[in-house]
């Protein structure tokens, strides 16, 4: 049954890419959404079954082996799935939020032709299938199948409108950068197999638990540190951290629901999940954990500063995603695995909500994405506005919404484990997050509309509610007048996600607030090996300090909101003045620290030149072609010599025959 969860979206892909390719939109849309919904249902039943299992040494899990994939000597890799608390959270996020996004897409992508619509949904289903394989995999290679598969689908979906050069380029960039990370992942896998002789997660964890930890310095680096660093390299590629984050902002070329699903809620969280899955392994490599935490914090800060000055609504959200992922890695790096996953899960809700909300805005404005041309949409798109507000508050980290609990937990754990510098960076980033998110909100929804655009005379609420059918015929662009709010499928998704953003935090109310911290206890068994003692998370029970820091982070968030309100709500001119005064800094931030240009100059161009000059001309044309042609030339030369044997004289032939006879007789004679 477990394999049904990834199988259903996979069948959806099959159907939409072959049979129903030219079917009308309702058919392909419903097949895809239905497949996801069915997967969600099956996931629920399986989780139910898992919860009612009797724990084996404190761990409840369901396993299913589909077949033996590779069996060769020492290497034995079955195609096996395993459902335990950690992967249960992940599959709920993927199938649940995934279904909502599919529903949303049925309306958002309505302008496409039938076959393009079906293609979109087939890719989306395929992505979901691979992502589910990734999180359900019971060993490294199966996870890697999913890992690569989501990278492929990301490429396909980013470059969905491939006739646009920028979209095609963005897709390629995503794939190539991911590939670099994947190389690290593969090497890490090899190292683990070499060291432990197995690639199954449980077995590796059991073996690692028996080892002493590697010393926390690079001098004493052992196999564990090397392997985990390589795996982390893969994670930086997939989850867009330094140094391989450069593909994510470009990935906004894809349709907005794609950005919501892949680049907010699921694929980019694969790296975080991978570390969580290998918690035992990483705990025994303290140096790697330090690296993870530092990179997480730095990425968070850097992305936050860039997001502050971007003007494209999706770009801001993209950098916000990178920043929040940094938080998750920071949590993993200080050993707070459950907290990292908690933030992953809350972030999925509100980031998906924010992206879908921005999609509704873009949809209503018929493709406008520059915030400088927006404004005053609050009264025209009320549903979108209110759900967007919920998401913004959640990400800023105000109680009682979801983002507060998870982010605060990360800050507390960082502080309590002694990483004060990183804590400081995280606090600054929290301030920036609140600031730029509210900047986005104000620029988009408040004030007056800033361009000569379709006048928003009809601020109608009506189309948003009360529609029951699936894919309403929303007006063609020639409709012209009136900004209508999100049509029903989009609205449903937005509302449900808003509820989730509000309530998802309730699972993780920490003890200091007299909560049960349910999620941490629920996930704990996943982070230790069977039969081994629990992974000690360096947590200090100091309720007073914790409460104090909690208040502090709320104050910081409020300060950020205040600053944003002061500038963009009341007096936008301040922003322009500051940009003019700090021109250099502004340019630096606006151009994303020129990282892309740096990469291009140092890596891309030299590789291109080497390939064209040396590898192509020298090796391929010269050496390889030369050898092959050379063989031909040699044969031709020889045959020119040998053909002179055909003298045409029969006597000569007879003579050679007779020579042979004489030689043979002579040979026998001699013997």
């Amino acid at each position: 049954m477990l394999s049904l969860i990834p199988l259903l979206p996979f069948l959806g892909w099959l159907a939409n890419s072959t049979v129903t390719r030219r079917a009308p939109k309702t058919v392909s849309g419903w097949i895809a959404t239905g497949a996801m919904g069915a997967a969600f249902g099956v996931a629920l039943t399986q989780i139910w079954a898992m919860l009612h299992q009797t724990p084996v040494e404190g761990v409840r899990a369901i396993e299913e082996t589909v077949f033996t994939w590779i069996s060769s000597g020492r290497l034995n890799i079955p195609l096996a799935f395993r459902l335990d608390p950690l992967s249960s959270v992940m599959i709920l996020v993927i199938t649940g939020i995934g279904t909502l996004i599919h529903l949303y897409s049925t309306a958002y992508m309505h302008d496409e032709s039938d076959s393009e619509y079906a293609r979109y949904f087939s890719y989306l289903n395929l992505f979901a299938a691979f992502m589910l394989v990734l999180v359900l995999g019971a060993n490294f290679p199966v996870m890697f199948i999913g890992w690569e598969g989501v990278g492929l689908c990301s490429y396909l979906l980013i470059g969905f409108w491939f006739t646009k050069p920028s979209a095609a380029d963005a897709g390629k960039k995503a794939f190539v950068v991911n590939r670099i990370g994947d190389f690290g992942f593969i090497l890490g896998m090899f190292a683990i197999f070499w060291a432990f002789g197995t690639l199954d997660f449980q077995e590796v964890a059991s073996k690692v638990a028996l080892l002493p930890a590697d010393p926390a310095s690079i001098a004493g680096a052992g196999v564990l540190t090397a392997a985990t660093l390589l795996l982390f390299l893969g994670a930086t590629g997939k989850s867009a951290q330094l140094p391989l984050y450069v593909w994510l902002p470009d990935a906004m070329e894809g349709p907005t629901p794609v950005s919501a699903l892949i680049h907010a809620a699921t694929m980019v969280t694969a790296g975080v999940y991978m570390i969580g899955r290998n918690a035992v392994l990483f705990s025994h490599a303290p140096f790697t954990l330090e690296v993870v935490a530092v990179i997480g914090a730095l990425t968070a800060l850097m992305a936050g500063t860039i997001g502050l000055v971007q003007n494209d609504i999706k770009r801001v959200l993209a950098y916000s995603t990178v920043s929040q992922l940094g938080y998750m890695f920071l949590a993993m790096g200080v050993g707070a695995y459950a907290t990292g996953i908690f933030h992953l899960y809350t972030h999925a809700f509100f980031k998906a909500l924010l992206f879908l909300g921005s999609g509704a805005v873009i949809h209503a404005l018929h493709g406008e994405q520059d915030m400088r041309n927006m404004g005053g949409l609050k009264k025209h798109l009320p549903l979108t506005f209110w759900t967007f507000l919920v998401g913004t508050i959640a990400i800023a980290g105000l109680p009682p919404f979801a983002g507060f609990f998870s982010k605060d937990e990360i800050l507390w754990k960082t502080f309590a484990s002694g990483h004060l510098v990183l804590w400081g960076i995280a606090v600054v980033t929290a301030f920036l997050t609140a600031t730029y998110m509210f900047r986005l909100l104000y620029m988009t929804f408040y004030g007056e509309r800033r361009t000569a655009a379709p006048h928003g005379a009809h601020g109608d609420d009506a189309p948003a509610h009360g529609h029951a059918h699936g894919a309403p015929s929303h007006g063609a662009p020639a409709h012209g007048h009136g900004l209508h709010d999100a049509p029903a499928p989009m609205a449903i998704a937005l509302v449900l996600l808003a509820l989730g953003s509000g309530g998802a935090g309730l699972f993780g109310i920490p003890a200091v607030l007299r909560g049960s911290n349910a999620i941490e206890h629920y996930l704990a068994p996943s982070f230790r090996a069977i039969g081994a003692p629990e992974v000690v998370e360096t947590v200090v029970e100091n309720h007073g300090l914790e409460f104090g820091l909690m208040i502090f982070s709320v104050v910081v968030a409020a300060a950020g909101i205040a600053v944003a309100s002061m500038i963009w709500l009341k007096n936008p001119q301040i922003a322009a003045n500051m940009a003019a005064r700090f021109k250099g800094l502004h340019t630096l931030l606006y151009n994303k620290y020129f990282v892309d240009e740096a990469y291009d100059a140092t890596l891309v161009q030299p590789i291109k030149k080497t390939s064209a000059g040396f590898l192509w001309r020298g090796v391929d044309a010269g050496l390889i072609d030369g050898t092959v042609n050379g063989v031909g030339l040699v044969v031709r030369g020889w045959s020119a010599v040998l053909r002179r044997m055909q003298t045409g004289s029969v006597r000569a032939y007879a003579m050679s025959l007779f020579t042979g006879v004489v030689v043979i007789v002579g040979y026998y004679l001699w013997r």
Partner: protein
């Protein structure tokens, strides 16, 4: 007694054969070959195979050589002229010829060496083994080798047809 006849006949055969290959005029070659065959036939008689001796004269000397003679006279074959031009050069014509001759000599020497290793075995006398009669041969031929006999007759038929087809003039 046998010995004298043997050496005489052997000498005759060899001399006639040598003459065959060294005569310029092909007519002379043919006639010398007939003489060689006759000497051979005598050798066969010495070996106690009168049947073979008889058919040697009848078929070989009588039929095949006469055929050769017919063709020689039909074609009015000229005597060979001395070589010149391309054929006198080593690689063209003279080379294989001379080399081939040397090879034959070599071959003869080899065979001689081979035979030297054999024991000198005397042949059984007429008393020990009477000469084989036509009856014996006929019995073996038509009983044990009947199939080969029939096949040979087919072969002759084929040869006849082939010869006719090859040698006739092109129909206009």
């Amino acid at each position: 007694m046998d010995a004298i006849f043997f050496w005489l006949l052997a000498a005759g055969t060899v001399l006639a054969s040598v003459g065959v290959i060294f005569q310029r005029n092909p007519m002379h070659s043919v006639v010398l070959l007939i003489a060689s065959f006759c000497a051979l036939s005598g050798l066969y008689v010495l070996l106690g195979a009168p049947f073979v001796a008889a058919i040697q004269i009848i078929i070989y000397a009588g039929a095949i050589m006469v055929l050769f003679l017919f063709v020689v006279m039909l074609l009015n074959v000229p005597t060979e002229d001395p070589v010149h031009g391309y054929h006198a050069r080593l690689l063209g014509g003279a080379g294989p010829r001379r080399f081939g001759a040397v090879l034959s000599l070599l071959f003869a020497v080899q065979l001689f060496l081979v035979l030297r290793t054999l024991q000198m075995t005397p042949l059984p006398t007429d008393a020990q083994q009477p000469p084989s009669t036509v009856y014996d041969i006929g019995l073996r031929l038509f009983r044990d080798y009947a199939f080969a006999f029939e096949a040979t007759s087919v072969l002759i038929l084929v040869a006849m047809v082939g010869a006719i087809v090859l040698a006739r003039r092109e129909p206009r």
